[in-house]
């Protein structure tokens, strides 16, 4: 019993939970923007994380550039990719199925799933399916009896700062207001003169950028493979379902909670349980909120 | 033959419905005898569609009871209530877009009170209804290709095809031109008389309501504020003050 309490009180684990949670928050933020403005479940979102991770990895292995320095560039590339996807695929999808239909949501999910398979296997073909890791800033710093590596501290700080910055952007700027309006009610936003297409394009760009950024950070922390993206997609969905669509601060809390669940759960049981906990939380979240997020918003109203 | 049985076909007592903090209906009571056509009148938000949802089982009452043909139906599932003999149309039409007009009615004939399990029987009954409402030519058309007037007519046809005794019509005239309103009115009268249906009608198109209904119930902010013949309602001071702000 005392060992369980020790585990729960461990500063070491707390730090690990915070790092994991902050990364989940960053990834979920991006998905929130994409899904919120478009109402399409982008299950390929985690694969953008994976690509960002590979981008930083190659920048480091080939060019010697630190992942932290490479991160903004990777994020910018992500933004461009987001714009490209919006232009190329999303507009086409609206044209085929007709905006606002439920078939659109079901079809878009399969579309993004197909995209995810393409990305994962293209990466496997290009980079081989083997896991790779890089070692960067592994010096250990101590705070009390908690040992923290530099790369983890950096990841936490960058992820946290980005989340807060984007949340502030959404909360205070006119652009942010437009985005929130589109998330809330797309049809109404058109009526008040918001250029919904432009807002959606920006959401995609920002969403992909944050995902790619998260990927760059992840490359410092764990081994990456073409298939490391998917758990991030799942985690991001859990965070959005628990935190609520468009509600970024609640999402932050949900992300930290999920990070804690995973970290402490694994510590108390075993590493094999990591996926069980993650998918267990996923299934539970969906079963508890069967209408996804809309029921919760209606009750709040 | 006495159409009005000693007991009413539908009896609503003290019906109430709350959605969170919002009270949609409160203390509503009225009854409908078999063969009657009763109108429900009221401004938007008065609780009319909520009333239909409660009767048809799409929502549960927060208070009060609903009895149909002598048995309690509040709290039953919508499909159960349909099999007992109540059908409704939806204010915002809900056709089966990928199915043909005939297939839309087939569902009603198979699963409603008529309960025709054999496909050919169900289709025959469905075609009969389509003839009555003047849609027989559209039987093979996908429901999604109909005009709004056509889809409204489909809603009505579907409800009738269930073989229901009581049909709830929710603003079936909304969005129709004057000609279409006249046509719908004519169709409703014919079908009602041919099948001896009991109707409850929500309408904003006043002249249709007045022509169709023997009795009107007026709702306001979820409460029943008046009930009577169309003429009486037209002169009722409470109704006039609600609609025009003055006592005429």
């Amino acid at each position: 019993m005392s060992s369980i309490v020790d585990t729960l009180l461990s500063g070491q684990l707390l730090f690990a939970a915070l790092v994991t949670g902050s990364l989940y928050a960053l990834v979920a933020l991006g998905l929130n923007l994409v899904y919120g403005t478009l109402r399409m479940l982008n299950v390929a979102h985690g694969d953008v994380v994976m690509l960002g991770a590979y981008g930083a990895y190659w920048a480091f292995s080939v060019g010697g550039i630190s992942p932290i320095v490479a991160a903004p560039a990777v994020a910018a590339l992500g933004a461009l990719a987001g714009l490209a996807v919006h232009r190329g695929l999303v507009r086409r999808l609206f044209a085929t199925a007709g905006a606002g239909s439920t078939r659109l949501e079901g079809n878009s999910l399969l579309l993004f799933f197909g995209l995810s398979i393409i990305l994962q296997n293209a990466a496997a073909l290009a980079f081989t399916p083997n896991a790779r890791g890089l070692a960067y800033w592994t010096e250990v710093y101590h705070l009390g009896n908690v040992a923290m590596t530099g790369n983890r501290i950096a990841a936490l700080v960058i992820a946290g700062a980005t989340c807060i910055a984007v949340a502030a952007l959404l909360g205070r700027s006119l652009l942010g207001l437009s985005m929130r309006a589109v998330i809330e009610k797309r049809e109404a936003a058109t009526i008040v003169g918001i250029d919904v297409d432009r807002v959606q394009a920006i959401s995609f760009a920002l969403g992909f950028a944050t995902a790619a950024l998260a990927g760059a950070l992840v490359s410092m922390l764990e081994q990456i493979s073409p298939f490391t993206g998917f758990p991030f997609t799942i985690a991001a969905f859990i965070v959005i379902i628990l935190g609520g669509l468009g509600n970024l601060f609640a999402g932050l809390g949900a992300a930290l909670l999920l990070g804690a669940l995973e970290t402490y759960g694994v510590a108390l049981t075993s590493a094999n349980m990591r996926s069980v906990l993650l998918y267990g939380a996923f299934v539970a979240a969906l079963l508890l909120f069967p209408k996804g997020l809309f029921a919760r918003r209606a009750r709040a109203a | 033959m006495n159409d009005a049985d000693s007991a009413p076909l539908l009896e609503v007592r003290d019906l109430g419905k709350r959605f969170g903090g919002l009270t949609a209906l409160s203390g509503v009571s009225f009854s409908v005898a078999a063969g009657e056509t009763v109108g429900i009148m009221g401004a938007n938000g008065a609780g009319k569609t909520t009333l239909f949802s409660l009767i048809a089982g799409n929502a549960r009452p927060s208070a009060g009871t609903i009895a149909f043909a002598g048995g309690r139906i509040d709290g039953l599932s919508p499909d159960r209530i349909c099999r007992l003999g109540i059908a409704r149309t939806f204010q915002i039409v809900k056709p089966f877009p990928g199915l043909t007009v005939l297939e839309n009615l087939r569902t009603a004939a198979m699963f409603g009170r008529a309960g025709l399990r054999d496909r050919r029987e169900a289709d025959a009954a469905a075609m009969a209804v389509l003839e009555e409402v003047g849609m027989a030519a559209l039987a093979s058309a996908p429901a999604a290709t109909l005009t709004l007037a056509g889809q409204k007519r489909l809603e009505v046809a579907r409800a009738i095809a269930t073989g229901a005794r009581l049909v709830l019509l929710d603003e079936v005239m909304a969005g129709l031109t004057a000609t279409e309103v006249a046509q719908m009115l004519d169709t409703l009268r014919r079908v009602r008389d041919a099948r001896r249906l009991t109707l409850i009608v929500i309408e904003h198109v006043m002249q249709a309501l007045m022509k169709l209904c023997a009795r009107i119930v007026v709702l306001h902010h979820g409460e029943r504020i008046a009930e009577g013949t169309p003429e009486a309602i037209g002169n009722d001071p409470r109704v006039l003050s609600v609609y025009f702000g003055t006592a005429a």
Partner: protein
């Protein structure tokens, strides 16, 4: 997912073609070499899996991305009872287990709508997979080696029976009152319920019916591998492939899955020989491509071609 096509006037032609194909498949083991028989076995497996998926997802509109969970459960049961249960019993039990699982999770799971249902089913399949993996790791079982499996011919005919059963089930349900109720709730669930369709019961029944045959398919396929790996029998790509085949085919009756399975199967066999690594990629591209360009699948393309021809355009 796509609109119901207007019933094909050439139904008899389809039926004859189908029967001829079935006869050819039944005769295959008697004149073909083992490699071809194994290929035929795989084709039959995909037919069974895709047809059973359509029973749920095409008819009700509840698209499941977790179909593999039934397959995996069936396979796992056979492996776990290997050498201690007679095989016919194990295979039947596999179907029953899958159906039971569906019955247990069906009510809460089917309350979830639209795309959430899609990802939920995916999550459940993964959850079952990782739970079994964790349990096996905890109990120290790594992988299993299976000796004494029946001959390829026996397995082939078992799968033939399952594929035939899956096809027959889809045909019978599709034409029944039950099937019409399912289609109605697919088109508009609230309206269907208000018209008397017992939607909750029907959805659950479709779910359970769609689970039994994949369970037995998994059980039979387990006999093929002497070396059993949990991750493989719960591989999400199995679900995705079945969906791709169904989507490719289009429609909501048996013609679609048969067309789609044949088409994708031929494509994949060719690819497998030439460019195996690209196969997954092509599969993803097929899925994405069809959603974008031809959401009605092959049948949809045929129907629009016929409609255009009829109108003289």
């Amino acid at each position: 997912m796509s609109a119901v096509p207007v019933p094909a006037p050439a139904t008899r032609a389809w039926a004859v073609a189908g029967l001829l194909g079935a006869a050819a498949l039944a005769a295959l083991p008697f004149f073909a070499n083992p490699y071809l028989v194994a290929t035929g076995l795989t084709l039959l497996m995909w037919l069974a899996l895709t047809q059973s998926w359509c029973l749920l997802s095409k008819l009700t509109g509840y698209v499941s991305l977790g179909h593999v969970v039934f397959y995996g459960l069936g396979a796992y049961l056979v492996v776990v009872t290997w050498q201690s249960w007679p095989l016919p019993l194990a295979i039947a039990a596999a179907g029953a287990l899958a159906a039971l699982f569906a019955a247990l999770i069906g009510l809460p799971v089917l309350r979830v709508r639209g795309p959430y249902f899609v990802i939920l089913t995916f999550g459940i399949a993964e959850l079952v997979k990782y739970s079994i993996l964790a349990a096996e790791a905890a109990s120290g079982t790594a992988s299993r080696i299976l000796f004494g499996a029946p001959d390829l011919i026996v397995i082939y005919f078992a799968m033939f029976a399952l594929a035939a059963a899956a096809t027959l089930l889809l045909v019978v349900v599709g034409r029944s009152r039950f099937g019409h109720g399912l289609r109605s709730l697919r088109e508009n669930e609230e309206a269907a319920e208000t018209l008397g369709v017992p939607v909750v019961r029907y959805k659950l029944l479709a779910f359970v019916l769609s689970a039994a045959i994949p369970g037995m398919v998994g059980a039979v396929m387990a006999l093929r591998s002497t070396y059993f790996v949990v991750g493989q029998v719960f591989d999400p790509m199995i679900s995705v492939t079945a969906i791709a085949m169904a989507l490719l085919g289009g429609g909501d009756d048996t013609r679609g899955p048969i067309l789609g399975t044949l088409f994708l199967f031929i494509v994949s066999e060719v690819l497998w020989i030439r460019a195996p690594l690209a196969y997954m990629l092509i599969l993803g591209a097929v899925l994405a491509g069809f959603v974008l360009v031809a959401p009605g699948g092959i049948l949809g393309l045929l129907d629009s071609r016929r409609a255009r021809g009829a109108s003289g355009a």
